[in-house]
């Protein structure tokens, strides 16, 4: 439950000490202009070979139905287990080897045909959990059937950047911090609505708080960290608001849960924020399609494909397409057989996708068997950490993947 009270103390007085009060949030007073910070480079990184490269991780929460996303239309078994929900062959957007995309995914069709989309089949891990909470946690920590206090993107930031690097090493667009970006040394900038990164309060309070939030050296390193973070919070709030205000694009990202977040990433890339690690979520357990899934799932896939394609198109427009790779994952796929409510239940292995102008497009790994099942669920064919290793090693150029992923995982050869 999030309670946000922007009520002014005048209203509060008028209505009594426990009454309601609603007033407008007032502008934050800044100690420095945001332009100064945008220009500030993020120094002290060992990911220096290709310093402009950016990774955007996209989480599709709820467990996306992989079989109706990358459709095995050439396999009769698919139509036997999906008598009502199966995508009819004429409708499938054909890719190769009897596989194709759901008809709603014209955005992915475009990326795939241009060679800018990699599909990695059968991603998962041994002894899969069918719980949203557990499985999502495994993907975030990259420690299946275990756990870690930090997330894999957070550990990458800790490994790849000097611990005293200033600025926003990670930006996470979402209402809550994703576990994946929890870092020991580099607190991620987390926001959903750019206007939320500010202090509550009326004008007098805002003015006082700006003065109380200035970075300053201290012998107390925790206090120095806090004052630097406080100043960064106020300034970053202004940066993301300025970037959003300055950003106008003719590119259509469509609607749905990713278009807003990916547009915000594009605005920050366009504003030349030095951040290289972004994390966005298609939030709200949206892909958890237990009932009547045909229409809502088609919408979710259309929104996702349109937003990702729009994002890549927009990056081309601003000349940064070669610098950005988008990796998409979900916590599990759905059960092979459809259920009686025209939906699908929690399952296991599922495809991942990597999009971007620098990607060597095509199919990676082996599509899981529809007949050799584990209690009605697909057996995974690619450990998801191989895809993570591909992003870290091949794309970002950080070679020491084993400590980040807590094990050795062979990259897939996806980037030239």
């Amino acid at each position: 439950m999030i309670i946000k009270c922007n009520c002014s103390r005048r209203d509060f007085l008028r209505r009594g000490l426990y009454g309601i009060g609603v007033g407008a949030g007032l502008p934050t007073i800044l100690s420095r202009t945001s332009a100064a910070l945008t220009a500030q480079a993020l120094g002290g990184t060992s990911m220096a070979a290709n310093p402009d490269r950016i990774m955007v991780v996209v989480e599709l929460s709820g467990g996306n139905d992989g079989l109706n996303t990358v459709v095995p239309f050439g396999n009769d078994e698919y139509y036997r287990v999906r008598p009502n929900l199966g995508i009819r062959e004429p409708d499938v957007i054909k890719a190769e080897d009897g596989l194709g995309f759901h008809p709603a995914m014209v955005g992915f069709e475009r990326l795939y045909k241009d060679g800018n989309m990699a599909v990695i089949h059968g991603c998962g891990y041994e002894n899969p959990s069918l719980s949203h909470f557990s499985s999502m946690g495994y993907w975030h920590s990259a420690v299946p059937n275990g756990g870690d206090p930090l997330g894999w993107v957070g550990r990458l930031a800790d490994g790849a950047y000097d611990h005293d690097a200033q600025g926003n090493v990670i930006v996470n667009i979402g209402r809550r911090q994703a576990m994946a970006v929890r870092s020991r040394h580099h607190p991620p900038l987390v926001f959903s609505d750019p206007s939320s990164l500010r202090r509550d309060g009326d004008q007098e309070e805002q003015a006082a708080l700006a003065a109380l939030s200035e970075a300053r050296p201290s012998e107390n390193s925790a206090l120095q960290f806090l004052t630097a973070t406080a100043q960064n919070a106020i300034e970053s709030g202004a940066i993301v608001r300025d970037a959003a205000a300055a950003y106008h694009t003719p590119v259509d990202y469509g609607i749905g849960g990713l278009s807003g977040p990916l547009r915000r990433v594009a605005a920050l890339v366009a504003a030349e924020l030095p951040t290289r690690l972004y994390y966005v979520s298609y939030a709200g357990n949206s892909f958890d399609t237990h009932v009547h899934q045909a229409d809502p799932h088609a919408r979710l896939l259309a929104y996702t494909a349109d937003a990702v394609n729009g994002f890549v198109e927009d990056l081309k427009r601003i000349g940064r397409a070669k610098d950005v790779a988008v990796m998409m994952f979900t916590e599990f796929g759905r059960r092979v057989e459809e259920n009686a409510s025209l939906g699908t239940d929690h399952g296991t292995a599922t495809p991942m996708f990597v999009a971007g102008a620098g990607v060597t497009g095509g199919m990676y790994g082996r599509h899981p068997s529809l007949t050799d099942l584990d209690d009605g669920n697909l057996k995974m064919t690619t450990d998801f950490r191989r895809v993570y290793a591909t992003m870290i090693d091949e794309w970002l150029g950080y070679k020491a993947t084993a400590p980040i992923l807590k094990g050795s995982f062979e990259p897939l050869g996806m980037f030239a």
Binding site: M1, I3, C5, R9, L13, G16, L17, Y18, G19, I20, L130, S131, G137, S141, G146, G147, D148, P149, L150, Q177, M179, R182, S183, R184, P187, L189, V190, F191, L197, D200, G201, E204, E205, A208, A211, L212, R216, N220, S221, A222, L223, F225, L226, T229, A230, N232, A233, S236, G237, G284, H290, V291, H292, D295, P296, A340, S341, L342, G343, D345
Partner: protein, 606 residues
């Protein structure tokens, strides 16, 4: 009236001490860092006592601090560590009547509940509908979701009960330690789905909180919530599940680097057959592997208890546990020498925890500048310590306690995963640092009109199901997402509808859960100040600094706050005789000032 939080041995000194509130933040000399020698009586003062109560508890009122400052350091530490000498007068958790006949054992998943019902005609005490009815399994699915929802919300009630206990306890270290063990032996209700088990574990952790680590460890290994959380019911002799052995060695006792993968497998074999019959530990000899095992270099027909003894015999275990306690109570970094010394204390005491805790809290190192006011408060500590410092008599429930801590990244009874909370700097992001201040605005200026009690409101997609059903739609149409066409959908013939079950789960849960009484904080800042004698704006700001902060702010920050208060009051003084009883203008000015103080980066430090 302020709470009397400590068994004050020298109560008569209170009045004299309260009159002279010193400024916070005076640590011992820098050379005390890493010095485990006991602090002397001559070095003991109000600042040291304030540091002790902040770390060994959740902070306190000036009166709480004065009572500890009036003791010797050994008496003060003993009063906290030997908390069994103080009677526990707080009420037990009042559980809602949510568990009905036949609900145990609760199925692991909706799919399992449905399978059982198909095979036996009923599940969780609820029968399928007779043949010919539509959605014959719907009552079973409703009951399954009822079990999930009611336990999720009941666990929030349990967390509020615990928060209230942290606030009101006269044995603060008991709760601070219980919170430590909750993070150390991380267990989450999202997986366990049974508030009774979570409560039982919480009581077990509390019962051994300052006792023997051996008892705690054996207690947690036999704890139903933990056995469910780590799936040890699936750890059977033919298919040993390594989770249990791995978490035992990596997270609970030794830490990585002190054992091999082989040790993990062998330990897991020794715990095969350790399971639970709902709320009772059960050893199933048919599933236990009685054969020979080799563990940490020793070979024998080891059972689980033998494995625990072999683990406790290793120096690495005592050092790992002692170092983790040190990081929780003192600071993130410790030297190898300190770690070895603290480990030796724990092992030397046969894993009794009180001597180790006493050593830590009496050490000069604990009072050195490297330790004092260098710890970032956990969200639970931040909220509870604020309420304690305000002298509140009960936990406010508007805003919702769990909502406040969850917004900052900590939910009691639901740590992020088996590794618990990372703590330290990971509590803070730029946005959460702003929220750490913003949430106190909601505490100081509570918005009761638009408050929605989270234990009474159907969330998200289920709210739209409720709305559509109210509009007269059939179940198929009401559970469809998206466009208005759905209202024309014909009702489907199906075994059950999952989304409708999810909605009914809330309706049934709200019917049986005891409501959380909702009340905003009972605050009167003018009254709070009255005892201090602070009346001019400078003295008021200084009183708030001394009462709430462990770091003295800079002069320019103090000036900002003094100017703010002067401008809000329109005067240099708080009227001695308020214009009207509970003068709302003065109260609002003081709350505005307090909001600023609680939003300062300095306030994040314990």
């Amino acid at each position: 009236m302020p709470r009397n939080s400590f068994p004050a041995l020298l109560v008569f000194l209170l009045v004299a001490a309260a009159a002279a509130i010193a400024h916070a933040g005076q640590a011992g000399p820098a050379v005390w860092t890493d010095d485990l020698t006991n602090i002397g009586q001559a070095d003991w003062d109000r600042d040291k006592a304030a540091h002790l109560v902040e770390r060994a508890g959740f902070g306190g009122t000036p009166e709480d601090i004065d009572s500890l400052a009036a003791m010797t350091p050994a008496e003060a530490v003993s009063a906290l560590v030997q908390f069994q000498r103080t009677p526990d007068t707080l009420e037990a958790f009042d559980a809602s009547p949510i568990w009905e006949m036949g609900m145990d054992p609760f199925p692991k998943s909706r799919a399992e509940a449905v399978r059982i019902a198909r095979e036996t005609g009923q599940s969780m005490g609820v029968a399928m509908l007779p043949e010919g009815e539509s959605r014959r399994l719907q009552p079973v699915v409703n009951q399954f979701f009822y079990g999930l929802r009611s336990n999720a919300i009941e666990t929030q009630r349990l967390a509020s009960w615990w928060g209230d206990r942290m606030l009101r306890t006269t044995r603060p270290l008991e709760e601070k330690l219980t919170l430590f063990w909750h993070g150390h032996f991380s267990t989450g209700n999202t997986k366990v789905r049974d508030t009774r088990m979570m409560e039982q574990q919480n009581e077990m952790l509390r019962a051994h909180a300052n006792g023997s680590f051996r008892d705690l460890l054996l207690g947690i290994l036999r704890d139903p919530a933990m056995l469910v959380y780590l799936d040890n019911g699936e750890n059977i002799k033919d298919h040993p599940n390594e989770n249990f052995g791995r978490e035992l060695l990596e997270l609970f006792t030794m830490g990585v680097g002190n054992y091999t993968e082989h040790d993990i497998r062998e330990a897991s074999r020794a715990f095969t057959g350790w399971t639970n019959d709902v709320l009772e530990f059960e050893f199933d000899p048919d599933q236990h592997d009685f054969r020979t095992k080799t563990f940490l270099g020793e070979t024998g027909e080891f059972n689980g208890e033998d494995i625990v003894e072999l683990i406790l015999a290793a120096d690495a275990t005592a050092e790992f546990v002692a170092a983790k306690l040190y990081r929780y109570f003192v600071r993130d970094e410790l030297t190898d020498r300190t770690q070895a010394a603290l480990g030796a204390t724990l092992r030397g005491a046969n894993y009794e925890l009180a001597p180790l805790l006493t050593q830590i809290f009496l050490s000069r190192d604990f009072y050195s500048p490297t330790s004092v006011a260098t710890q970032i408060k956990s969200p639970v500590h931040l909220v509870i310590s604020t309420y304690r410092k305000l002298g509140l008599a009960t936990l406010p429930t508007v805003p919702d306690f769990n909502g406040l801590t969850a917004r900052l990244g900590q939910t009691l009874f639901n740590p992020p995963n088996v590794a618990g909370w990372a703590g330290g700097r990971t509590w803070v992001t730029p946005g959460s640092l702003l929220d750490r201040g913003n949430l106190f605005r909601a505490v100081l200026f509570p918005d009761t009109d638009s408050f929605y009690p989270p234990d009474r409101v159907v969330p998200g997609i289920y709210a739209s199901v409720a709305r559509r059903l109210e509009q007269g739609m059939n179940i198929t149409a009401a559970t469809q997402t998206g466009d208005a066409e759905s209202s024309r959908l014909a009702d489907r013939d199906e075994d059950y509808n999952t989304r409708y079950g999810g909605y009914m789960g809330y309706v049934m849960a709200f019917d049986r859960l005891i409501p959380v009484p909702r009340h905003a904080p009972d605050l009167d800042l003018a009254q709070l100040l009255a005892g201090s004698g602070a009346r001019d704006v400078e003295a008021i700001v200084d009183h708030f600094f001394a009462r709430f902060l462990r770091v003295t702010p800079r002069a320019d920050e103090r000036r900002v706050l003094v100017d703010f208060l002067r401008s809000e009051l329109g005067s240099d003084y708080l009227a001695a005789e308020p214009a009207q009883p509970g003068d709302p203008a003065a109260e609002a000015a003081l709350r505005g000032l307090l909001y600023l103080v609680l939003s300062m980066p300095e306030y994040q430090l314990a």
